[in-house]
Symmetry: C2
Subunit: 447 residues, 2 copies
């Protein structure tokens, strides 16, 4: 494909991205533990040739379960269930480097990459919710720096495991009686600060070589990690300049490490309310905002800013002075986004809650299909994005509006594919299939 | 159902249970990483109303990969892929208590029980292959006693996690704005020797309450563990008296712990070679045995007995004196089985390799459909088995012969169901759905 391709993922927050989606009259909340719900959403996204569906994750129950369905089906097994009901769309699940063992996680993703014939991506996170620690025998969530140091070593290990079988290790010669060539199946003998792992993995190399490495952290450590490892990056921006700064920074960091910038897809979030007119779209958004519950929203805000505003006057100006300039209890990728909104828009506390209810800091756009397409085109052509994580406010309706009304416009403008050209997630994203690190060893060439 | 029910599982060793299955001319060895291979086998088993399919597992690559396809797709994700292509058959995967974290494992099985609407079983093992240790940062595989002590605590934790949401915790009241009742979602606050886990799990209670607990160890510790936790037991026996001894011992241990004996299904392995005449069946078996490779078989034997017989005369009597009476490097559940064969049958070394090639110590029967049905009926009616793990020597042919020729006989004799009565694995096995341990708390009744 000579022209630059727009990538579109469907981010499946089970009931939709708006925090009150589950209260919207059409919500099918009884189906959120039902795999057919997720299969249908993925099939709908596959019908319009989306690159992938994407699932967030964290190994702990959200605090605000009382006010919204904030539980999670474990997403890697969910991908396997969706893989069986689809054939082309990519499948991305989040998993934590802080709370997994590399050998186990490498097996889970390898199995799903085999099952899906090469459609799997791993969203690599270090876990934001610090209460996860208590489910894994720790007294406290490791520090941000510690988490990224472990993530770094984790990636070295799993990459080695996914490389441990060379592509031609399987001989499958029943007559000669040799199934595999042990000279092409390699131990790692990794001994590091966090992990000691011998390998090899116990499954042949996966269709994509390795799952696609996705990343979603924007701190200084997060950016360095992304520049080194990420092949796609999910990110949250409220303005074009902020997205451009991030885009340019990531691409030049990657260049500095000898990587090709087009091999990192930068994909900001976008949560669209779509209406026949802008006023209609804004009415729809207001309908959702009327359903939010301050008890829930204040908890969300506390997680993003590290400060609890319960008891403050919802209709007074937001008490900006209560926020320390650098708050280590906050989520780095959201902290600055929220502060920027406050400084730019000077909302009341309630106004801020409404502003964040749509997508927890991601860009929310209430407008016509043309306005949504314009936004996408602008960011795509002005070096702010290689594509988007589409985060429909509610499901499936919010996605159907995008698929039916915005996708055709993007196609007419030559921005988005009419159909899949090939079938792996690497293909969709235009990423190369990595060679096994062992395939280049001199002793191999000699033999 | 008033009459006692026979249970039948299909044990899916990817290419079949005989160690040379992959060399048999009809073998489809290119499909062993292909989920549709496993989906088809499960569908075939579902067509004849088998209780479940079953997958072994270990988190390490088998040593003898050179001589046979001894790799593994991670089985829990595989169950999710099979669940999507079936609707009634039970789905059992093996997972190790030694090499998992309870919170992660509890999530994986919970997700697949939801996805399959209540068809999941967990074969609980402590892992036999001691090389697994090196993939998880350990210097050595923990001792047998240590592994069972950890397994015991592991079960306490995951049982608590699966119980942590009461059945009626989800309110799903969009109008009132309450999704769940936090008073019915419980922390464990478990602090033990091996694990500290706060909980609760981050997903609503699964359809079966908990996955069906399956177990497969026959040592003294293994039996104690099974009597306490198991709802189905996989076991290997070569003679009716040995199976009867095990059956009776397990049931009386369970009784001693206040459990009902029919709530533990005892399921020995059975690997059938089926022919129109006994001679034909034996010729078929000989065809497979002719394909074995001593290099492979000797490695298998070393794992079972802890002694390496490489270099010994294959056609001399088996050197029985080289085996110490209690060998801690051996697999306890197989050690005695193999010694009994040696003492009873006095084979040559090659004869022993042939004897074990079929099913690594499980019962191999080469005979007519009537003879296979007779064996099943005898063991079932004479207190040796509640059913069987059917381990076809090769797939799918070896299973198709059983389904087409033996299942109808079992039905004619009133031993096996014509069709599924209900849809969960607990239903098929006749097991009760456990109540959450928290549902019985006094404060709950009062509230
Ligand atoms: C679109 C997006 C999705 C994310 N999804 C998750 C998630 O599912 N689980 C999680 O623990 N963190 C998630 N994060 C947070 C980060 O990945 C990261 O773990 C955390 O913010 C720390 O990184 P940072 O400090 O570098 O931003 C997400 C972030 C973004 C932008
Ligand atoms: C039918 C059957 C299947 C088994 N499957 C496994 C398996 O998949 N993985 C494993 O590590 N051990 C497996 N085992 C072995 C035991 O579960 C157990 O971990 C080991 O033998 C130690 O237990 P024991 O000493 O009490 O027999 C199996 C045993 C039997 C009888």
């Amino acid at each position: 494909m000579p022209t630059r391709q727009l990538s579109l993922n469907l981010f499946i927050y089970p009931d939709g991205h708006h925090e009150a989606a589950w209260r919207y009259p059409s919500a099918e909340i009884a189906r959120l533990t039902d795999v057919s719900w997720f299969q249908r959403l993925a099939q709908q996204a596959e019908q319009v040739a989306f690159d992938a569906v994407f699932f967030a994750d964290g190994p702990v129950l959200a605090e605000n379960i009382e006010y919204a369905p904030r539980f999670r089906l474990e997403p890697i097994t969910l991908l396997a269930g969706i893989a069986a009901a689809t054939s082309r769309i990519g499948l991305i699940a989040t998993a934590s480097t802080t709370y997994h063992q590399p050998y186990n996680l490498a097996r889970l993703f390898a199995s799903v990459d085999h099952q899906s014939r090469g459609r799997v991506g791993w969203n690599i996170v270090t876990t934001t919710n610090d209460a996860a620690a208590f489910n894994f025998g720790l007294d406290a969530h490791p520090s941000h720096a510690e988490r990224y140091a472990r993530a770094q070593e984790f990636l070295e290990v799993v990459t080695g495991l996914w490389d441990s079988w060379e592509d031609d290790a399987v001989l499958a010669d029943p007559v000669g009686g040799r199934y595999a060539d042990p000279a092409k199946i390699h131990r790692l003998d990794h001994e590091g600060r966090y992990f000691t792992v011998r390998g090899p993995l116990n499954v042949p190399r996966v269709p994509q070589g390795r799952p696609v490495y996705v990343q979603a952290g924007s701190s200084e450590d997060g950016r360095g990690f992304a520049a080194r490892w990420a092949e796609a990056i999910f990110t949250a921006h409220q303005t074009l300049p902020s997205a451009q700064e991030f885009y340019c920074d990531i691409k030049s960091r990657a260049l500095g490490l000898g990587r090709r910038p087009e091999h990192i897809r930068v994909l900001p979030g976008l949560s669209p309310f779509i209406g026949g007119t802008e006023a209609e779209a804004k009415r729809l958004q207001a309908e959702f905002n009327d359903l939010i519950q301050p008890g829930y929203s204040l908890q969300q805000l506390r997680q993003m800013l590290g400060v609890d505003f319960t008891g403050h006057d919802l209709d007074a100006p937001f008490p900006r002075h209560l926020i320390a300039p650098d708050n280590s209890r906050a989520v780095a990728s959201r902290f600055q986004v929220v502060l920027d909104i406050v400084d730019r828009e000077k909302p009341t506390l309630r106004g801020l809650l409404h502003r964040l209810a749509g997508a927890r800091g991601h860009f929310v756009l209430a407008g016509t299909p043309e306005q949504v397409a314009d936004h996408i085109e602008t960011w795509f052509t002005q070096a702010a994005a290689d594509g988007f994580n589409i985060m429909p406010p509610w499901l499936p309706g919010g996605f159907e509006a995008f698929a039916d009304q915005v996708v055709p416009l993007l196609r007419r403008r030559g921005l988005f594919r009419e159909e899949y050209a090939r079938s792996t997630l690497r293909d969709h994203y235009g990423l190369p299939r990595p060679e096994s690190r062992f395939a280049a060893l001199p002793q191999r060439r000699a033999s």
